[in-house]
């Protein structure tokens, strides 16, 4: 937008230059053509004057000749008067012509020639006039003189007529030039004016366009400003600028509100601002402001302000510098009221700590309970075993039966305590993840179960696993529990077969993965051919202490699969189970790929 406008501005400037130039040219041309026209008309007048003078000269000559002839014929001296009068007039005419023909060398020469001829003719008049009284007109001398006069007169007339002709030609020439001048000038003027009109029109259009654009931009800016104001109010932040060179601040309206004041109610200076800052934060904030002035940059800073009513607010500010059109560095800053966040964060933190405390208490209670219970139980069992080994013959059959019952109960208690202990251990959060060879962990799990595996002739097949980032002990425990489970719940009539497969899957394509954190997962599937279970209980089996079978049938504690779930959750994975009564069960584990 700014670029388009500046392009327009340079266009307008060019238009102005061109228009000014055109108008100057038009002015100059008009002046010149007027001068030309004046010159031309002066020249024409001049030519006319010369012509008139020449005609006059000719007519004076004719009058002089007529007078002479009349005198000769009548010998009356009355005719001599006009002759003499004409003669002075001829002289006057010559003087006049001489002035007029100063600028025309050809005419000047002609005039000298005419003057010579006229002088000769006047001399001839004189001669013929003087010789007449003594002789007769038939006197041959007189006749030859007279004839001579006529020849002279004719050549004079001829000369004058020639000069007049020349003058007429000149006149014609001048007139046609004058005419063409008169026609060309307005055409040029008109076309130039047309050009500048077009230019002005284009310029007007462009200005009009720009004004329209500016107006709409102005409206947008107004809207933007208003929405900024609103968003500042809603999101509890204010903006400010700092001109480093001029050392001048501007504060947005809401910045005043953040301080608990009316907009623009005091002069935006740092001194005024610091009056609101919490005394404990003043020193640090002024230090940071000094640094800001130096570096023209403001990293995130946090401080508190105190409203006049005593409310304490937590503010957070940040500034970034820009360079304006005048090459001044301006720091654009934002200050936000984060009191609510801090309060809710504190509340959350408190709740978290409380939860953590509870959790710790619970898990340490669980751990201590199960761990410390082991010791007396072990002693009970050991004493029982010694009683049975060493004192058996001293006991009645009833006593022996009771001992065996006590032993059963103690064994059951041991199972529960062991599982509970294991569960509380899998709860501990501070486990270390490492890239582990899963094949080895599975092998170790099989080692742990070597006795039952060989007792039940269980067949375990497994894919080759890649190394996975896990908590090795827990994954081994997971395998032990799943394998143990599969063997424990084997079908009477079949040797247990457990198939373990591995593949890498995309989270999106697996239904069981809800809200995945990663896009790819290791999918490990344990499939057995045991007694299976009704799918109705698929979720329930992972719940602590939940059991699908009577404990007389199967010796489970209802903890094993809860441990599995816990372990998988510790790995941010998923575990699901599906089953079919009498056919088998399938446990699927998803572990995220980092």
């Amino acid at each position: 937008m700014i670029r388009a406008l500046s392009n327009n501005i340079s266009f307008l400037r060019t238009t102005l230059y061109i228009s000014t130039f055109v108008i100057l040219v038009v002015g100059a041309l008009t002046y010149r053509s007027i001068v030309d026209a004046t010159n031309s008309s002066e020249m024409i007048t001049h030519t006319y004057k010369v012509n008139v003078e020449l005609e006059q000269l000719l007519s004076n000559l004719n009058d002089a000749e007529t007078g002479q002839r009349g005198y000769i014929i009548t010998k009356d001296s009355v005719f001599i008067g006009p002759y003499i009068e004409r003669r002075s007039k001829i002289n006057n005419s010559f003087a006049e012509l001489k002035v007029l023909t100063e600028d025309n060398p050809i005419l000047k020469e002609d005039l000298i020639e005419i003057n010579r001829l006229i002088n000769e003719r006047l001399l001839a008049f004189q001669t013929s006039y003087q010789s007449l009284p003594k002789g007769d007109i038939k006197d041959p001398n007189f006749i030859s003189n007279f004839r001579n006069g006529k020849v002279l007169m004719d050549s004079i007339k001829h000369k004058i007529r020639g000069a007049i002709q020349v003058q007429n030609n000149l006149l014609e020439q001048r007139q046609s030039k004058y005419k063409s001048d008169l026609i060309a000038t307005p055409l040029l003027l008109f076309s130039l004016l047309l050009c500048s009109l077009i230019l002005m029109y284009v310029a007007y259009n462009s200005i009009y366009d720009n004004i329209k654009k500016l107006k709409s931009k102005n409206e947008e800016l107004e809207i933007f400003k208003e929405s900024t104001n609103q968003s500042e109010i809603v999101s509890k932040h204010g903006t400010w600028t700092f001109n480093a060179r001029k050392n001048v601040y501007t504060y947005s309206d809401n910045l005043y509100r953040l301080l608990g004041e009316q907009p623009q109610s005091f002069e935006p200076t740092i001194e005024n601002f610091l009056k609101y800052v919490h005394p404990d934060d003043v020193e640090q904030l002024s230090k940071q402001v000094d640094q800001m002035r130096e570096n023209i940059e403001l990293p995130y800073i946090y401080y508190r302000v105190i409203h006049k009513n005593g409310n304490i607010k937590h503010l957070k500010a940040y500034g970034r510098s820009i360079v304006n059109d005048d090459d001044e560095i301006i720091l654009l800053g934002t200050t936000a009221d984060i009191t609510d966040e801090i309060m809710s964060f504190r509340a959350l933190e408190e709740r978290n700590m409380e939860l953590e405390r509870n959790n710790k208490e619970l898990s340490s209670f669980n751990y201590v309970a199960s761990h410390d219970l082991q010791e007396p139980l072990r002693k009970i069992q050991t004493f029982l075993s010694r009683l049975e080994d060493e004192e058996a013959e001293k006991l009645s059959p009833k006593g022996l039966k009771y001992i065996s019952r006590i032993q059963n109960a103690a064994s059951r208690m041991r199972l529960l305590i062991d599982d509970l202990l294991q569960f509380s251990r899998s709860n501990k959060a501070d486990k270390v993840f490492e890239d582990a060879n899963i094949n080895l962990l599975l092998e170790a799990a099989k080692q742990d179960l070597a006795e039952v595996i060989s007792a039940e002739n269980a067949i375990i097949t497994s894919d080759n696993f890649p190394s996975i980032n896990v908590i090795p002990f827990q994954i081994q425990q997971l395998f032990v529990n799943l394998l143990g489970n599969a063997i424990k719940y084997k079908a009477e009539e079949r040797t247990p077969k457990i198939e373990i497969t591995h593949q890498i899957v995309e989270a999106e394509k697996e239904e069981s993965i809800k809200k995945p954190k990663k896009s790819f997962y290791h999918k490990i599937v344990f499939t057995d051919n045991g007694i299976g279970f009704d799918n109705e209980y698929a979720d329930q089996i992972f719940v602590l202490f939940s059991r699908l079978h009577n404990k007389d049938q199967y010796s489970g504690t209802g903890i094993g699969l809860s441990i599995c779930k816990k372990i998988v959750e510790n790995h941010r994975g998923y575990i699901t189970a599906t089953g079919q009564l009498g056919v088998g069960a399938t446990f699927t584990i998803y572990l995220p790929i980092e």
């Binding site: 060879n437 092998e443 170790a444 099989k446 080692q447 070597a450």
Partner: protein, 188 residues
């Protein structure tokens, strides 16, 4: 003149024995008849030196004979286990009987009597001991070790390893590695 003596063989032997033990600079304590507690560790040389000294009185170190044989059995087993040929190709009972010139039954009984453990167990112990060395020193894989020690499978090796030591081979490997790391930290 004929003199008659009443002598106590026990006392004489005791005195002779004491004399010889003292001559050989051995610290001892009489425990009972024919039983002396040696209060220091005797080297093989010193033992044979003592035996030679006792020979002129035709006194024999009885238990020593047994323990020498047991020691021979142990040495033979160790040789057998650590030797690539014998471990693969030889039945241990036959090998031991031939090497030591006694019936396997005799050796087996003697061994159990002296050590409270069977020859079979000792062979397993030695094999696992060797497996440990291979794991630590040569960084061999379990497959290679199983092959080297003539186990039918890795699983068999792992099972025997676990049964003997209570630890899986990988856990063993891990523990040794961490121990070394710890020692290095302590020395640094």
């Amino acid at each position: 003149m004929t003199l008659f003596f009443k002598f106590d063989f026990n006392s004489i032997c005791q005195i002779v024995l004491q004399q010889i033990l003292t001559d050989n600079n051995i610290k001892y304590k009489i425990v009972g008849f024919g039983e002396v507690e040696v209060l220091e560790k005797l080297s093989k040389d010193k033992l044979s030196q003592l035996q030679t000294a006792l020979d002129q009185y035709q006194i024999e170190i009885v238990e020593n004979q047994k323990s020498i044989l047991v020691q021979k059995i142990k040495d033979t087993i160790t040789d057998m286990v650590f030797n690539e040929d014998t471990i693969v190709n030889v039945k241990s009972s036959v090998y031991l009987a031939e090497a030591l010139g006694h019936s396997y039954g005799y050796l087996s009984n003697l061994f159990s009597e002296v050590t409270y453990t069977s020859i079979e167990n000792f062979i397993i112990l030695q094999k696992i001991e060797f497996a440990k060395q291979l794991i630590i020193k040569q960084n061999l894989s379990l497959t290679e070790i199983a092959f080297r020690l003539n186990y039918s499978s890795v699983a068999h090796l792992s099972t025997q390893f676990k049964n003997t030591t209570g630890i899986t081979p990988s856990a063993f490997q891990r523990i040794i590695a961490k121990r070394r790391e710890l020692n290095q930290q302590n020395t640094n």
